[in-house]
Symmetry: C2
Subunit: 369 residues, 2 copies
């Protein structure tokens, strides 16, 4: 069941029902503009990641600022985007299973769709689905550029897989997927630079090998909010797959220096108990605020710390001298990790100057398949 929106346009922020996902529209728009400008200046394309925002509204606002399309991780996300008019979609990882592949192939009737592969059996399954649907699917080869998750080895193994794709009547070789997830949260600029230099070299070498094999790479994709400037400047990557930049979160803010974007996302919570001196409890716990990347930060209230969640409660510690929150007071909490937080909610509550300006459905919330 879709949850009803927690607010209506025109309300003051204090009237919003909690917990609610607040989007600070000034900061959000500044973030979109800033990234669009940086990508244009670097001469690379922007293909923002919908796994973060999960929203058709936001996808279209990114496209209106020059993005060439969107990334997704899941077929269900790609469906929601394509059904909502996003016409160039890259599923930026492997898709396995005949039902999923049949759905993906069906989407080629209304949108440009590409998907990644890292195994000959995976390519064969995509081929079977494309043939059965009487269509052609674009397939990128994912190479492991240092994260140690999915992907074939750069170089020879990648070339062999690309040849396999290019040789199929039902497939088109789309290029390389070279995302270095593990580099995004490396804290020092030196560590990030070293990781992306290695990734760019691996990608460049593979592009060269492919060229010698007679295969062009229409897309060389990668990058996240922690490292995008490095990929953009590498001269190798053609598309940036950033997602978090639109929102930021407490964990990205711990990078040195933090990415050049404003905190635009928070969870609005209500103080539901003030049981003892030095303690308060808000109505946002595990289910409202995942803590896989650390505790949320209490925005604009020095000396108040989110100590820990239980399922529906968040325990706050109020340091001596800090203003104790009142029962019923609302606090903005900045999530540790934006992606799984957004995916908990059905609605963005867009706020500007203390007023609710818009409600945007999080259409791909829970689209895991």
């Amino acid at each position: 069941m879709l949850q009803p929106p927690p607010a209506e346009p025109g309300m003051r922020e204090e009237e919003v029902d909690t917990p609610a996902l607040i989007l600070d529209l000034d900061a959000f728009e500044a973030n979109l503009d800033h990234m669009a400008g940086l990508a244009a200046a670097a001469g690379v394309k922007l293909r923002p990641h919908a796994k973060t925002h999960k929203s058709l509204v936001i996808a279209h606002r990114q496209l209106a600022r020059g993005a060439v399309g969107q990334c997704t991780q899941k077929v269900a996300e790609a469906e929601i985007l394509a059904w909502g008019g996003v016409l160039d979609i890259l599923v930026s990882n492997e898709v396995v299973g005949p039902r999923k592949l049949a759905r993906l192939a069906a989407l080629t009737r209304i949108a440009q769709v590409a998907v990644c592969a890292d195994h000959p059996d995976g390519v064969a399954a995509i081929e079977t689905a494309a043939e059965a649907a009487g269509t052609r699917l674009t397939v990128l080869v994912e190479i492991d550029v240092g994260t140690g998750r999915c992907g074939v080895a750069p170089g020879e193994e990648a070339v062999a897989l690309a040849r396999r794709i290019a040789a199929s009547r039902h497939l088109a070789f789309g290029g390389l997927q070279a995302y270095h997830g593990r580099a995004q949260h490396k804290r020092s600029p030196e560590e990030r630079a070293a990781a992306i230099a290695e990734a760019a070299q691996a990608a460049e070498r593979t592009v060269e090998d492919l060229r010698r094999a007679g295969l062009d790479c229409p897309i060389i994709g990668g990058a996240g909010t922690g490292t995008f400037a490095l990929e953009a400047a590498s001269g190798v990557f053609t598309e940036l797959q950033v997602g978090s930049y639109a929102f930021m979160d407490a964990d990205y803010a711990r990078n040195d220096p933090p990415p050049p974007f404003r905190q635009a996302l928070s969870v609005l919570a209500t103080v539901m108990s003030v049981p003892r001196d030095g303690a308060a409890v808000v109505d946002a716990g595990h289910k409202a605020l995942p803590t896989d990347s650390g505790m949320p930060l209490v925005s604009g209230r020095d000396g108040i710390r989110y100590e820990g969640p239980s399922d529906e409660h968040g325990r706050l510690v109020i340091e001596p001298g800090a203003d104790r929150p009142r029962l019923g007071e609302m606090l903005r909490l900045v999530p540790g990790h934006c992606d799984p937080t957004i995916d908990r909610y059905d609605w963005y509550v867009g706020v500007r100057s203390g007023r609710v300006e818009c409600l945007w459905p999080i259409a791909a919330r829970g689209a895991m398949a």
Copy 2:
């Protein structure tokens, strides 16, 4: 947008789209029966917690086995239950904010509704809402029996708050909420017994104080899946508020001894990459499997360990000698913590003997307000 069901009745489990929340119906039914029997034998009432199952179907199956009603943590959960025919609901924590309280008061037209309070200002706000709606709300006093979260101190402070409730024309005093959340996952039986002995003494003393003040306690509620046998045997508690027993999870299984229930819940995931020897990746990460209480366990496959999630990926380590999973193979993962896992999904896929028997909507998924 509600996600479409990942399966249809009659399918084999291998045909289910992943990630999917699998309910092993034999184990689930055995768990419901076993708990109903234990409560009946101990002479205490069962009021299972809907914050765990989030499902009208499951609520009604618990009621059919003798449960007196349901607990919720949220007004939005209470609404979904009441609208679906659950007619006795206790919101087992504080509710703060006039919009939420107005909604709660409105529910009294179709169901018996009770809520907790731990502050005179909270009681006054509940009174205002009840008066405005022309109804009467039942209010329990929450006492802190050792968890250090919400709740007034047992004894005098609780009596003062109960008097305040009982003195109102718009409120009825409903008894004590005395849940010891922190005791549930204490690992040794001695630690749990000590914690619940203390909780029971605090509750008993407060009941005595209330009796001297002329106030009866229709409900003395508490207990979770880790300690329910202790509360049931205490002679103090009248209602058990257990939730996880219906499903179990990997974290409860680490209690010594584990609660006497079968693992009934798993996330079905597909192997989407087999990039290297000793490694595989499944299509279930942070968004499919919260890891706040530890990593999920790979069911029935010795030597395969879920090492860690990223947003949509789960990295598996395959120990030397263990069977390497095939690309496209499906694995059942037992979640670390059942509550936030269930709340990620729109559907239970009920499975018996390898076949999908039913699809049940998780109607209160995301009902956080």
